[in-house]
Amino acid sequence: METKRLLPIGEAGALPVMKRAGPGRRRAIVTALLLAPSTLWFVALLVMPLVVVLVFSLGERAPAGGYQAGFTFANYLNLPARLTAFTNTLTLAPVGTLLCLVFAYPLAYFLAVKVKRAKLMLLVLVILPFWTSFLLRTYAWIILLSGKGIPSWLAVVGIEGVRLINTPTAVLIGIVYGYLPLMVFPIYVSLERLDKRLLEAAADLYADPIATFRRVTLPLSLPGVVTGCLLVFILLMGEYLIPQLLGGGKVFFIGNALVDLFLQSRNWPFGSAVAIALVVIMIVAVGLATRWAKHQGATREVSLL
């Protein structure tokens, strides 16, 4: 006699079992299909190239430049040869990020809280510069900061001998200029969501503007601040154009070291080691920053809309 397992009809747990057997597998297939293209992309264009770089970093420089198979840690041990590049980047990147934050926050606050009409248009005006060639804008800064530009105007007013181009200052100006819109956007989004009535309530409770800002606005806008800072910091760590064009070869970032190692001194294995070191530093830095942000309670991912 067959023992048939009768499915108790009406029992809550039973029906889902039936549903999971057929459509469940189909859902899994659909999910897999949906993920297939991006998986392919990640494997072919992210994982594989990074693995190749890792392998190269353990190799040797071919006599004519380039890569030669080998297995050595010499390249990693030689990283201190570029110590200045690392320290430069690890100093100027955070400083640049902070400067961006300081300049961007008031503007984002103004747009989100103070502006009533034409809000979208003013916001677009902040992003619009991104639509002109980044290189041309930086080149315009070279002209503005050269001897015939701003220093000559300052000389008219009586401030002589100001040297702006080819200095870390010029690089910082370039950084703030290039990344300001990127910092404004997330902070704006986060402030926009702020319920203005909270600010009114704080005022009703006799809080002065500074206290309101410190205890209401700032904490609530923290997710946006964190997102903006992370975004700018990440991009800054890989920056090499601004230091090259505005620093005149005197300000060397890790990015510049990489370009030199691959496109001039052609020491691919050493360059690969520097690249891996950069990626590791960034993952660590971003990891620490995200953990700090979680600790502060600012983890909500700020949608960019």
Binding site: R61, P63, A64, G65, G66, A81, R82, T84, A85, S146, G147, K148, R163, I165, N166, G248, G249, K250, F252, N256, A257, D260, L261, F262, L263, Q264, S265, R266, N267
Partner: protein, 376 residues
């Protein structure tokens, strides 16, 4: 037009009173070349017939070709010349080694050719396809390195020297040596001096401070050169092979410089003077070569053939200011130019100069030294 009138116009042009176009117009050279190009027809001169495609990619150096000449080439052949420039031979080589760069004509410097050939980055030349090139008309002192073990890989374009240019209205010490160049950088003219982003000339001329060979790869000598470079770095205005804009704007008043750039600077500002350090320095020849994977080889030969034609080459010299190795071209140049001490220095000034040595482009010690210098 007689010789005196010609020289009058040439002098006005050199001083900048008239533009190049006005000069070519006044002397009739402009019309003559246009007529020459169309009448004689460039195509029949070549050893092959037919279309050379719609573009030829030229990989070269800044301010090295007269756009008007390239325009005439385009009119005659229908192929646009796409120009890419680099600041050092190392960058050029890196792009070639990465592959698929798509260049048709390369302009490498003498010391790189053997290395390129041994890595199969350039192809042997079929001189039959460059009928306007006459090997016997060239000074072999300059052109010998174009052939590697008997096979011709490159034909000469021009030669020149590497010295330094000063803006004499601000640099009044009248320096004549490399020692003064490096010393003045650290003292009086701190913050206004540039060096090339190019290991050969910058390290080479730092070595000259101590009287070592420009091409030295001796570890002890290189260590001293590195010491000097690191001491000088805080006093530099910039490390850039593209120094003309900064010299012209007055941000920089001294810079390591190539012959033709000095000539071009002097056209814009008569106070610009070219100095060849008495201790020595570099003398070099630039060549035309064809990369091994050039997509348009027919176009490459056509362009090279066009550019080595004596009368076209003469116009190029008038534009870029680099002296020619070709006796036929020199015959077409005005006497003033041939006696110009920047372009054609006296023999005793040239004597201490050295050609760049083969192998320097791949030398790891020098490459790494320069990278450390830039990174410091």
């Amino acid at each position: 037009m007689n010789k005196r009138e010609f020289l009058y116009h040439l002098r006005r042009y050199q001083q900048g009173s008239i533009s190049r176009r006005q000069f070519l117009g006044a002397t009739g050279l402009g019309v003559a070349s246009a007529v020459l190009a169309t009448e004689l027809g460039l195509r029949p001169r070549r050893a092959f017939a037919g279309d050379i495609g719609d573009r030829v990619s030229l990989c070269t150096w800044p301010s090295y070709h007269d756009p008007a000449n390239l325009e005439v080439f385009t009119q005659a052949t229908g192929a646009t010349v796409e120009m890419t420039v680099f600041g050092s031979n190392e960058e050029m080589m890196a792009k070639l080694q990465a592959g698929a760069a798509g260049y048709d004509v390369l302009v490498p410097t003498n010391y790189t050719i053997r290395d390129y050939a041994s890595q199969n980055l350039i192809q042997p030349l079929d001189l039959a396809q460059i009928p306007n090139h006459d090997p016997s008309a060239h000074d072999t002192r300059f052109t010998g390195e174009g052939a590697v073990d008997g096979t011709v890989y490159a034909v000469p374009k021009d030669w020149g020297t590497t010295g330094y240019v000063i803006n004499s209205s601000e640099v009044t010490e009248g320096p004549t040596t490399w020692k003064e160049f490096w010393d003045l950088t650290q003292t009086t003219h701190s913050g206004r001096v540039m060096v090339h982003d190019y290991q050969l000339t910058t390290i080479g001329n730092a070595l000259k401070y101590y009287g070592y060979s420009f091409n030295s790869i001796d570890a002890a000598e290189l260590a001293k050169a590195e010491e000097l470079l690191l001491a000088v770095k805080p006093h530099l205005f910039g490390i850039n092979s593209d120094y003309k804009p900064s010299m012209l704007s007055g941000d920089a008043i001294m810079s390591i410089c190539w012959t033709g750039d000095a000539v071009q600077l002097r056209r814009e500002n008569a106070a610009m003077q070219y100095v060849l350090g008495r201790e020595g320095g570099e003398i070099w020849t630039d060549f035309y070569a064809i990369p091994a994977d050039a997509p348009n080889v027919k176009g490459a030969y056509a362009l090279i053939d066009y550019l080595v034609t004596p009368d076209i080459n003469a116009k190029e010299v008038l534009f870029h200011g680099y002296p020619s190795t070709d006796a036929r071209t020199n015959a077409l140049l005005p006497k003033e130019l041939l006696e110009d001490p920047i372009l054609y220095p006296a023999a005793e000034v040239l004597a201490p100069l050295e050609f760049g040595a083969t192998g320097l482009i791949t030398n790891e010690a020098r490459a790494e030294l320069f990278a450390r210098f830039k990174s410091a």
